[in-house]
Subunit: 230 residues, 2 copies
């Protein structure tokens, strides 16, 4: 699976959040594509990038409840009517479409009655409308709020969640999470030198047995629920 | 009352709809301000334009369910945090904020279940959020859909509605509409040469007597309603 991250930030080198996410994006088959760095937008080339991807992510800081103008400029040029829906071939059909939205405000502010009074979902309506028009599958928004207030441990958690958002099979079910983590551990194994291999093997064994435990617990829980309902 | 129309269209000379609206905007105390024509955005000057206005309109064609990138660029530069809400003086407080949105699609497509599956209100959420943040009063959206499919008479109707959107006292009540039309007729009178004055006088008399008729009808209707309810 190939993932294209269309990143928009006018001062990306100064954004520690974006730099941190950039480090997280360094995975196989993940392409980081920063639109403000494009000297001239080659529409055919950009459309080819989109067509080649299986998952397309728009990633940006919230500037006036929307993406920075750089992304809108890119949209207005690259997403031609013909390409998205005009000629009825729908080249982006069934691809997954996600949004990584960074904000300096707490997430709890984005709801009716709170400081911002609108949810991120409501604010992102134009992007959902684009995805609908292109017949793409919309993923839940991945919000990154107040990154630099987070502890180092929370940041690492976020980074893993971000990596899963980029490459994990969706929906974000327990099984899909498990498969993603197993795959990651096996990749570690391949890259490691002989000294580390034994340790990784132990981790995988422990991880696998925990999954088996979890599966058994889930089965038991299902049975208890059925008993309760009958 | 002063009205500022912040217009965004990258090819405004080719847009017959915008040219038509431009003609309609030629009223006293209405300022047409086309952002793509600004060679360099002078932030202080733009903020002064906003501060001087009583009603601020954003006017644009719908490009990917939002304004063209030119307006977003203007927003990102002009609407600084300090200006809008940062220093708590709220210079745009209580000003009216409207949106004139032009689209080549029929208005009926903009609703759940229809071709576009989102309402214009939903799509315009980011602008409402900006208005909220600045403590402005939000006016209902003024949509201009499929302008060139309209008959000449419908276009003229639309132009009058547009002029009212720019300068009529809100809300758009019967009384406020009446006052606006009376004022317009009186202005005609001042500008006309003597030959036309008699005709205009007759129109005003007829108009005024119709308003009196309407008022009497409304009073009767109110009494009927009260009887029904009691």
């Amino acid at each position: 699976m190939k993932t294209l991250i269309v990143v928009s930030h006018p001062e990306i080198d100064d954004s520690q959040t974006q730099q941190f996410l950039y480090q997280g994006s360094k995975q196989k088959n993940v392409f980081w594509h920063h639109v403000e760095e494009l000297v001239d937008i080659d529409v055919a080339k950009e459309q080819q990038l989109l067509t080649n991807a299986d998952r397309i992510i728009f990633q940006f800081p919230l500037y006036w409840y929307s993406a920075p103008s750089g992304l809108k400029d890119w949209e207005d040029k690259v997403l031609t009517r013909n390409f998205i829906y005009g000629d009825k071939t729908y080249p982006l059909k069934d691809k997954e479409f996600g949004l990584v939205v960074t904000t300096g405000l707490p997430l709890k502010d984005f709801q009716k009655g709170a400081a911002e009074n609108f949810s991120l979902d409501e604010l992102m309506t134009p992007y959902r409308a684009i995805a609908d028009k292109a017949k793409m599958q919309i993923l839940p928004i991945f919000p990154v709020s107040q990154f630099w207030y987070k502890t180092e441990l929370m940041q690492m958690d976020l980074l893993i969640d971000y990596q899963r958002y980029l490459t994990q099979k969706m929906p974000n079910s327990l099984n899909n999470r498990q498969a993603w983590f197993e795959n990651k551990l096996q990749q570690l194994d391949l890259d490691a030198d002989i000294d580390d291999k034994k340790m990784i093997e132990l981790i995988i064994n422990s991880f696998t047995s925990r999954i088996e435990e979890l599966e058994q617990l889930n089965e038991t829980l299902e049975m208890v629920k059925e008993d309760d309902e009958s």
